[in-house]
């Protein structure tokens, strides 16, 4: 006998069953992906589903790949909820060389996070929404260190944070305003 105020959400079970094909047609991910969705989840998608705005510059080319690995950055509430059909991802590249820019992030120990290659660079400046139905295969999960590192670069990109060494660049005492004339 139930002895609390909570009532089991029967409507959840009574809702009509939706096949993965129907979910896909509605822009949603297969139901098996839902428990995996959350910040730091690594997925494979079709490379063409990622927008590279620089490819639209006249004369530029884009090397096409069969697939693109991406990292989900939306919070659990939004990434698992069927009310939102889009999900924010950061595309990754395995062919970047040289030091990462402030809008990029090199994933530490990428093979332990599900990536098949290394090094892996997260292209934070290309953070973008895709349809959840465009997620093709779950590969793994970023470690806590890698995820917070990636989020720090995202915070930097959106102006929510600034580089530590920039915050002490003000003179110790504000100079007097320059005299007019």
């Amino acid at each position: 006998m139930s002895n609390g105020g909570y009532r089991f959400p029967r409507k959840v079970l009574d809702a009509p069953k939706v096949t993965d094909a129907e979910r896909s047609a509605a822009g949603l991910a297969p139901s098996a992906f839902t428990p995996k969705l959350g910040p730091g989840a690594v997925f494979k998608i079709e490379d063409d589903d990622v927008v590279f705005p620089t490819a639209r510059i006249a004369g530029s080319t884009r090397t096409s790949h069969s697939e693109r690995w991406v990292i989900v950055v939306d919070r659990i509430e939004d990434s698992r909820n069927d009310k939102t059909k889009t999900i924010s991802i950061v595309p990754c590249s395995a062919s970047c060389r040289g030091a990462a820019a402030s809008f990029e992030y090199d994933i530490p120990d990428p093979t332990s996070c599900g990536f098949s290659k290394e090094p892996i660079r997260a292209l934070v400046h290309l953070l973008q929404p895709i349809l959840k139905s465009e997620l093709k295969g779950f590969q793994g999960q970023l470690s806590a260190t890698a995820l917070t590192g990636l989020q720090a670069v995202i915070a930097l990109k959106f102006g929510l944070s600034q580089e530590r060494d920039r915050s002490i660049c003000l003179p110790p005492v504000a100079p007097s305003p320059a005299p007019n004339g």
Binding site: Y6, R75, L147, L160, S161
Partner: protein
């Protein structure tokens, strides 16, 4: 030869202890336990037989053997129809193999059984609901789990921490971990900020992080971001909540440490702004 009731009970308690340990036993150890349970089944007194089938189901589930595991759970439930724990463990096994609908149906039944309406069932239900994307419903179930939680069982507190992380309630996860750790060491929770408590018990916490990575993610999120955007926090406080509950149950549960957590946040923000 029949095993004595007391000896059988001791044996079952040993298996329970090993099979519910965090992290789970190795595959080799699981196989040994499974063989031990199967070998003892004929000699075990009737009153312990259902428990043996239940534990066999858990061991087989941990070994990834879906149909055998569910078969064993079903035997346990048939032998003792009134024991909510057997049904709940079967529901957890259904979830382990991605059979969320069966798991949810069984959770609904467990809630109606004697003593089945408790924090563990509600928390486990929240986990299943979150796995099918029903985050709002999951949080309602979790709020109720917080309300009925006794706060005296460290394993229950740790499991609630995991289920909180699975619905995105990272701060609650950290607080529950702190309570669980203190409970394990038989020390009162006190007013020490949760992250400091976690820091004091890193040896235990490390094994929990191995058990489920979501705990590590939640702790990292709180440790990295909590209090770092005080102005943003004030702004988002006015945004509509996912659950439109003017006085959520977890607020009551955590009221005792709310002041200390606010102070810890303020201190962290102050340090960040310096």
């Amino acid at each position: 030869m029949k095993m004595l009731a007391a000896a059988a009970a001791t044996k079952v308690a040993e298996w329970v202890s090993e099979l519910t340990a965090v992290p789970a036993p190795s595959t080799a150890r699981l196989t040994v336990i499974l063989d031990d349970i199967t070998g003892s089944m004929k000699n075990i007194p009737v009153e312990q037989r259902a428990a043996c089938y239940d534990l066999k189901g858990i061991a087989l589930a941990l070994l990834g053997q879906e149909s055998d595991s569910l078969g064993a759970h079903l035997n346990a439930c048939r032998l003792d129809k009134n024991q909510f724990r057997f049904a709940l463990n079967m529901a957890v096994t259904y979830r382990r193999f991605g059979r969320e609908t069966e798991s949810l149906n069984l959770h609904a039944k467990v809630l109606e059984m004697d003593n089945g309406y408790n924090a563990t069932t509600l928390g486990s239900l929240a986990h299943s609901l979150a796995n099918i994307g029903e985050i709002e419903e999951a949080r309602k179930a979790l709020d109720e789990a917080f309300r009925v939680c006794t706060g005296k069982d460290p394993n229950e507190l740790r499991n609630l921490a995991l289920w909180s992380a699975n619905v995105g309630l990272n701060s609650e996860c950290v607080e529950l971990l702190a309570r669980s750790l203190r409970c394990f060491r038989n020390v009162p929770r006190g007013t020490t900020p949760a992250l400091e408590v976690l820091h004091e018990h890193m040896d235990v916490l490390a094994t929990w992080f191995v058990w489920d990575y979501r705990l590590a993610l939640a702790v990292a999120q709180v440790a990295t971001w909590q209090g770092k955007f005080p102005e943003l926090t004030a702004l988002t406080a006015d945004l509509p909540r996912v659950i439109k509950d003017p006085d959520p149950a977890w607020g009551e549960v955590f009221a005792s440490t709310r002041g200390s957590r606010s102070r810890a946040n303020a201190a962290a923000a102050e340090e960040y702004l310096e």
